[in-house]
C-alpha cells in the first residue's frame, strides 16, 4: 500500500486478527494485541515500523522478502516478523547489529537486479523499495554487473531475461524490469479480488509475475479491479495517470457513484487535478477493495461531451441556445407556472435521481411537494427496486435490506437470486467469493449460468436455472419443501412472527400443487435439485439471501420479494450477522432516493402522504400545504402526457428514454410535453426531447451523502469545484427560488440537518457524526446512536414478521409462434447502466457494444452465426445488435445488456409491470431473433433525431 497521504492510512503489514489479548515487549515497549497477530503488526501498532517489502495488510503474510527479520529472546535465529505470531511475554528486538547486517545484505541483492532510474521513475517518492533502501542504510551495491532482468541488452545481444513493458490495460502498466517478485500482486488478485489471474511463472532467478499464461494483461483473466496495482510496492504495476501527471499530494475521502455497494475511495489529487482513485481501506462497505468502474472509470468527469452551460430552446427541433443560469431559471420557472396556470397544478412533476445525493433528492421532492404544490414526484427506483420497498415493508416493516456487507463473512449458505454480483456488484462479489472459498455453500437461482455458478475456486452447490418469470413458483416450491419436510424453525416463527399468518402461509405452500414436482414443467427446474437446495438453505447454518433486479423487474416482483422474506422468516434466518434478506441495489443512491421521499405516495422516511402527522411536520416547517393524495408515478406521467394532461417535467440525473421500458412510449410522452427540463452531465437520450438543459455536477464536484444497499450513509466530499459553476443541490434551490420558494441552504449539511430533524430513522445523522464514524447505517436515532448494522434483531420493525401468500401468476407476456424466445436483460462488469459515464471512459475496451447471447440450438435453427447482426423483435418494437452464441443461456432464452444507446434494448421491452409498484418487467419479453443486414427503422430514425436535437448554437462571445 502506497501510504503517503493520510496519517491513519498506515500499512500495518499483516491483516488484523480477532482473539484474546496477548502482551509482549518490542524494543522495550509493552504491546497488547489480539492472539494470532503477527509480530510485525504488533510492532507497527506500537509505532515501530519493521522494514518490509512482501508484506502488506491487505493480504496474508508470505515471508519471502526476508527484510522484516527480528530477534526473539530465547529463540534461535532471526525469524520473519510477518509470519511469526505473537506470544505472551515474548521479548522482541527489531533493530540489532545482526539484523542490520542481514537486512543490508538482502537489500543489496534486491538492488543488484533493479534499475537505478529513481529520478525518472513513476513511483519516485512513492516506492517502498526506495524507502527500504533508505531505511536499512544501503550505501553501495558490491555486486558486479551480470545477469539481470532490467537491461534490454547484455553487451551486443538482446537480454533474454528482459521483458518489455505491458501497456495493454488502458489504466495501468506492468513493467517487469521494476519487479522484485514479492508476490503481493498475485496474492491480492487471489485473496482480495478472488480472480486468480496472476501467478509467478518459473522459479528462482527465472521467477516472473505472469498474467494468465504469460499473456498481456488485457488478454489474461484480469478484470482490472486494481487490487494488484494497489498492492505493488514499486512502479511495476502503476496507474498510467500517475506516470502522466506525477504523484498526488493531497487526498479527499469520498464515495463511489457507481453501484449500490457504495465503496469508499480516497481521491488523490495534485491541485484540483484528480490523479487517481484508491479504495479507502477503512471504508466499511468495501474494506479497501474496488472494481474497474470506481477505481478507474472516472475520466467521464472531464470528458469533452460534458455540457457546462445552461441551454434552452422552444422546440426540440431547434438547436440549443446557451444562456446564463439566471436566464435558465427564470425561463423554466415562467414556463412551469404558465403550464400550471393553463393545465392545473398537477400538470407538472419531477423525477429525482438515484445517482444524486440524499440532500439533492430531498430538495427535488421538497420543490415538487412544496413549490410545485403536488406529489408528482417519482424516481428511477420505480424501475428497479420499488418492489423491494413494498415487499419488505409488508413482511418486515421496513423498506431496506437487513444486513451490512460484513455479514457475508459469517454466512454458511448463500442464495443469490436474480443477481449477477461479479458483474453488477463486483466488490461485494469479491467478499462473497472469499467466504465461498472458506467453505460456505452457494445456491444460484438464475436463468443464465452466471460466473458464480462456476468460476475458478467457486462452484455453486445448486444452480436452479429457471425459466424467466417463474421466480415465485420456484421460491414457493422451496417453501413447500421446507414446510412439508418439517424444516421450519418453529421456535423462531412462534417467537418472532405472526403465527396466524404463518399457519395460513404454511397451509398454502404445502398444497401439492405448489410442490417442486408439480411446478417443474413450468419452471424447468428439476424437482430433486430444487428440493436439495431448499434443504441446504434450511439446514446449512446461517442462510443469507442476496438478490437483484432479476427478482424485482417482473410482473410479480413484489410477490417474489415477499416470497424471499417468507423463506427467511420460516427458517429463522433474520436478525443476526450472517443471515438476512439483502437487496443488491443497482445504483449508488437508490436506497437513499427512496428514503428521501421520492415516491409519489411517500414523504421522507416512508411515511404515507395520507399520514396527517407526517404531513404536518413538513407543512409547518416548509410553510406550505402538502397534497394528501399520492401523485403520479413515472409511467402515469407519461400516459397523462400522451393524453394531453401532463405538460412539464424536471428530470434530475436520469435518462428515462434509454433506461425505462418501451422506449417508443417514453418518447411519445416526452414529445407531448411543453417543457421538459433535463439536468445531467451530458446531453443524454432524454435530453433529445428536452426544452431546458441544466448542466449537472459529478460526484467529485459536490458535498452530500449516498446511502448504499446496506443502508449505510456515506459522505460524498467535494474534490474539485463544480465545472458548471453550481452543484446540483444549488441548481434545484435556485430553480425553486425562481418559482417562489423561500429556502436558503448554504451547505448540504444544513439539508441533512433538516432531514434528521424531520425523519425519525435519520434523527441521529449529522455530518459531524459521519465525519467521526466514517459512515453510519440507518436507523440512526436515540435508540441506535451509532446506527444499525443488522436490523430486526429482537423484533421486526413492524412487530411480528408477517407471512404473505405468494400465489404464482404467470406474466401476460407469453411466448408464442411469432415470438418464441424469452429475452432477459442485465449488466456487464465494465459498463454501468445506460453507459453515459462508462462509455466515455476506456472501459469500452472491454465492452464496445451490446451483444445478444443466444443458445447454440436456437442460433442454429435460425441460421445465426457468431458475431452476426440480428434483428431482435418483440410486440413493442425491434432493434438490431450482434449475436454471440453461448450455452450460458438455456435454449429458449436470450440475453442482452442495455448499456449502449445505439442498441436501445428497451425499444423491445414491454410496458407490463409489477402489480404493486409498476416496476417494469424488463426481465421477461417474448421475442423473435433473425439474421438481418442493417439497423431497424427505429434505430435509423432515432439516430437522425438524436443528432438533430443535439445541435448547439454557441452564443457569440
Amino acid at each position: 500500500m502506497k501510504d503517503f497521504v493520510l496519517p491513519d492510512d498506515r500499512d500495518l503489514g499483516t491483516p488484523a486478527r480477532k482473539g484474546p489479548p496477548v502482551t509482549l515487549t518490542i524494543d522495550g515497549f509493552a504491546v497488547t494485541v489480539p492472539a494470532g497477530t503477527s509480530i510485525m503488526r504488533a510492532a507497527f501498532e506500537a509505532g515501530i515500523p519493521v522494514p518490509k517489502l512482501c508484506a502488506t495488510d491487505s493480504v496474508e503474510a508470505f515471508g519471502s522478502c526476508r527484510l522484516c527479520l527480528v530477534e526473539i529472546e530465547g529463540r534461535p535465529g532471526t525469524p520473519a516478523s510477518c509470519t511469526t505470531p505473537v506470544a505472551e511475554g515474548m521479548v522482541v528486538h527489531t533493530q540489532t547489529a545482526r539484523l542490520k547486517k542481514l537486512r543490508k545484505g538482502v537489500m543489496e541483492l534486491y538492488i543488484s537486479d533493479h534499475p537505478l532510474d529513481c529520478l525518472t521513475c513513476a513511483a519516485n517518492g512513492d516506492c517502498e523499495l526506495q524507502d527500504m533502501a533508505g531505511v536499512v542504510g544501503l550505501r553501495e551495491v558490491r555486486y558486479a554487473p551480470g545477469a539481470n532482468h532490467f537491461e534490454d541488452r547484455c553487451g551486443e545481444a538482446a537480454n533474454p531475461l528482459f521483458l518489455p513493458k505491458d501497456d495493454s490495460n488502458p489504466y495501468f502498466s506492468y513493467d517487469p524490469q521494476k519487479c522484485i517478485v514479492c508476490s503481493r500482486c498475485v496474492r491480492a488478485c487471489e485473496e482480495v479480488q478472488g480472480t486468480f489471474a496472476l501467478t509467478i511463472a518459473g522459479r528462482g532467478f527465472d521467477s516472473r509475475v505472469s498474467p494468465g499464461m504469460a499473456e498481456p494483461f488485457l488478454q489474461s483473466e484480469c478484470v482490472s479491479c486494481g487490487a494488484c496495482v494497489q498492492a505493488c510496492p514499486t512502479a511495476t504495476l502503476s496507474e498510467k495517470s500517475v506516470a502522466e501527471i506525477g504523484t498526488p499530494d493531497r487526498s479527499v475521502i469520498t464515495t463511489c457513484a457507481y453501484c449500490g455497494v457504495g465503496c469508499s475511495f480516497k481521491a488523490e489529487l495534485r491541485g484540483d487535478e484528480l490523479v487517481r482513485m484508491v479504495p479507502w481501506k477503512h471504508g466499511k462497505a468495501n474494506r479497501g477493495h474496488s472494481c474497474v468502474k470506481g477505481r478507474f472509470a472516472w475520466g467521464y468527469a472531464q470528458h469533452r461531451d460534458r455540457i457546462l452551460k445552461p441551454m434552452i430552446r422552444d422546440r426540440i427541433d431547434e438547436p440549443w441556445r446557451e444562456v446564463t443560469w439566471d436566464e435558465a431559471f427564470a425561463h423554466t420557472a415562467r414556463r412551469f407556472r404558465e403550464i400550471q396556470a393553463r393545465h392545473g397544478r398537477g400538470a407538472i412533476g419531477g423525477i429525482t435521481s438515484s445517482r444524486c445525493t440524499n440532500e439533492e433528492t430531498y430538495l427535488v421532492q421538497k420543490m415538487i411537494r412544496g413549490t410545485f404544490g403536488n406529489n408528482n414526484v417519482d424516481t428511477c427506483a420505480r424501475v428497479c427496486h420499488s418492489p423491494t420497498g413494498y415487499g419488505l415493508k409488508q413482511t418486515f416493516g421496513t423498506s431496506a435490506g437487513t444486513q451490512d456487507f460484513d455479514s457475508v463473512e459469517q454466512a454458511d449458505v448463500v442464495i443469490v437470486i436474480g443477481a449477477n454480483p461479479t458483474d453488477g456488484h463486483p466488490v461485494f462479489a469479491s467478499r462473497l467469493k472469499k467466504r465461498l472459498r472458506q467453505g460456505a455453500k452457494l445456491i444460484v437461482i438464475d436463468p443464465r449460468r452466471i460466473d458464480l455458478v462456476r468460476s475458478p475456486h467457486v462452484e455453486a452447490a445448486h444452480h436452479l436455472a429457471l425459466m424467466p418469470g417463474t421466480n415465485v413458483a420456484v421460491l414457493t416450491a422451496m417453501a413447500h419443501v421446507i414446510v412439508t419436510e418439517g424444516l421450519v424453525d418453529e421456535a423462531f416463527v412462534r417467537a418472532r412472527c405472526d403465527w396466524e399468518s404463518f399457519q395460513d402461509w404454511a397451509a398454502f405452500v404445502a398444497d401439492p400443487s405448489r410442490s417442486p414436482e408439480a411446478t417443474e414443467k413450468l419452471t424447468r427446474v428439476p424437482a430433486a435439485e430444487l428440493r436439495a437446495a431448499a434443504r441446504l438453505y434450511a439446514t446449512g447454518g446461517n442462510g443469507a439471501i442476496y438478490y437483484g433486479l432479476g427478482v424485482t423487474e417482473h410482473s410479480q416482483g413484489s410477490t417474489t420479494v415477499m416470497a424471499i422474506a417468507n423463506l427467511a422468516m420460516a427458517t429463522g434466518n433474520i436478525g443476526r450477522p450472517g443471515v438476512g434478506v439483502n437487496p443488491l441495489r443497482g445504483q449508488n443512491n437508490v436506497q437513499g432516493s427512496c428514503d428521501m421521499g421520492s415516491f409519489p405516495h411517500e414523504l421522507p422516511g416512508y411515511r404515507h402522504v395520507h399520514d396527517d402527522t407526517a404531513r404536518a411536520i413538513y407543512e409547518s416547517l416548509w410553510g406550505t400545504p402538502i397534497d394528501p393524495e399520492p401523485g403520479l408515478r413515472i409511467p402515469n406521467m407519461l400516459d397523462e402526457a400522451v393524453a394531453g394532461r401532463f405538460k412539464g417535467i424536471y428530470i434530475q440525473g436520469e435518462d428515462i428514454l434509454q433506461s425505462d421500458p418501451d422506449t417508443r412510449h417514453v418518447a411519445a410522452g416526452l414529445a407531448a410535453m411543453e417543457c421538459v427540463v433535463v439536468q445531467d452531465l451530458f446531453l443524454n437520450e432524454t435530453a433529445t426531447y428536452a426544452h431546458v438543459f441544466l448542466p449537472g455536477a459529478t460526484f467529485l464536484e459536490k458535498d452530500g451523502t449516498f446511502t448504499n444497499a446496506e443502508r449505510r450513509i456515506n459522505r460524498v466530499r467535494r474534490v474539485m469545484a463544480p465545472l458548471p459553476g453550481l452543484a446540483d443541490w444549488e441548481v434545484t434551490q435556485r430553480l425553486a427560488q425562481a418559482m417562489g420558494a423561500q429556502w436558503h441552504y448554504n451547505h448540504p449539511a444544513e439539508i441533512m440537518a433538516e432531514i434528521a430533524a424531520t425523519t425519525p430513522t435519520f434523527a441521529g445523522v449529522s455530518y459531524e457524526l459521519l465525519d467521526r464514524e466514517g459512515s453510519v447505517q440507518w436507523p440512526c436515532n436515540a435508540a441506535a446512536p451509532q446506527g444499525t448494522p443488522v436490523m430486526h434483531v429482537d423484533a421486526f420493525v413492524r412487530g411480528k414478521g408477517r407471512f404473505i401468500l405468494t400465489d404464482y401468476v404467470p406474466t401476460d407476456e407469453r411466448t408464442g409462434p411469432r415470438f418464441p424466445l424469452l429475452l432477459t436483460t442485465g449488466r456487464i462488469l465494465s459498463q454501468y447502466n445506460v453507459g453515459a459515464q462508462t462509455r466515455r471512459t476506456a472501459n469500452s475496451t472491454w465492452h464496445a457494444e451490446d451483444l445478444l447471447e443466444i443458445h447454440p440450438h436456437d442460433a442454429e435453427v435460425r441460421g445465426i452465426r457468431e458475431g452476426q447482426l440480428v434483428r431482435l423483435a418483440s410486440r413493442s418494437g425491434e432493434t438490431t445488435l450482434r449475436a454471440t452464441i453461448t450455452d450460458r443461456v438455456a435454449p429458449g432464452v436470450v440475453y442482452t445488456t442495455f448499456h449502449h444507446p445505439e442498441t436501445q434494448a428497451n425499444v423491445v421491452t414491454t410496458d407490463f409491470s409489477d402489480w404493486a409498484t409498476n416496476c417494469p418487467e424488463y426481465k421477461v419479453t417474448a421475442v423473435q431473433v433473425s439474421p438481418t443486414n442493417g439497423p431497424s427503422d427505429w434505430q435509423r430514425d432515432y439516430a437522425a433525431h438524436a443528432e438533430a436535437s443535439r445541435r448547439i448554437a454557441h452564443a457569440a462571445e
Binding site: T195, F196, A197, L198, T199, I200, A201, G202, R203, S210, P211, G212, M213, A214, S220, E221, R454, S455, P456, H457, V458, E459
Partner: protein, 159 residues
C-alpha cells in the same frame, strides 16, 4: 509464448486424463505428468483445458507447470540425457563428463541435437552422490560416469 501446432484431439485426450485423476486430492501434478507422458511434453494448449476441468485459472496451472523443470513446453529429442550438476557429482568429475557430452552433441544445456536424437539437461541431485558422477538416460539411472562411458552411451543411442 511459443506458438506450436496443437496436436489433433488434444483437448479430448487431456479431458480423459483429467477425468482419470480428478478424484485425487491435489490432482494437478499427476495430471501434468500424465499429459507429458501422453504427448512427450505439456502442450500449452492443454493448460486451459486442465484449468477449466479443475476449476482453476490458466494462470495457476501455468504457474505450477513452469515451476517444475521436468515439465517441458516443447517436445524433447528421442532420448533425454540428464547429467547431475550438484556439488557431489561435480567434485567427483562431473564437469569433465558434462564438457565432453556438450562437445560431443554440440548443444548446450536444455538443447536438442539437430537430428532430434538427444536432449541434454542438467539435473540437481539424483540421490546417487556416493557413486557420482551420476546421470539419467531416458529414465534409467547411470552411475560413475566418465567421458568414455558417456561417449559409448551416445553412440549406442545413435547420436
Amino acid at each position: 509464448m511459443n506458438a506450436q501446432a496443437t496436436p489433433p484431439g488434444l483437448a479430448d485426450r487431456v479431458r480423459e486424463i483429467v477425468a482419470d485423476y480428478a478424484d485425487l486430492e491435489g490432482p494437478l501434478l499427476p495430471i501434468l505428468h500424465e499429459v507429458q507422458a501422453a504427448f512427450g511434453h505439456v502442450p500449452q494448449a492443454a493448460l486451459p483445458v486442465i484449468a477449466e476441468a479443475l476449476n482453476l485459472t490458466r494462470a495457476e496451472v501455468f504457474g505450477v507447470m513452469t515451476f517444475y523443470h521436468d515439465f517441458r513446453s516443447e517436445p524433447a529429442g528421442r532420448h533425454v540425457l540428464k547429467l547431475c550438476r550438484a556439488e557431489a557429482c561435480q567434485a567427483s568429475g562431473g564437469d569433465a563428463v558434462a564438457a565432453a557430452v556438450r562437445a560431443r552433441l554440440g548443444v548446450d544445456w536444455h538443447g536438442t541435437t539437430r537430428d532430434g536424437a538427444v536432449t541434454l539437461e542438467p539435473v540437481f541431485c539424483l540421490g546417487l552422490c556416493a557413486c557420482g558422477p551420476a546421470g539419467m538416460f531416458d529414465g534409467r539411472l547411470l552411475a560413475r560416469l566418465d567421458p568414455a562411458a558417456a561417449e559409448a552411451l551416445l553412440t549406442e543411442a545413435g547420436a
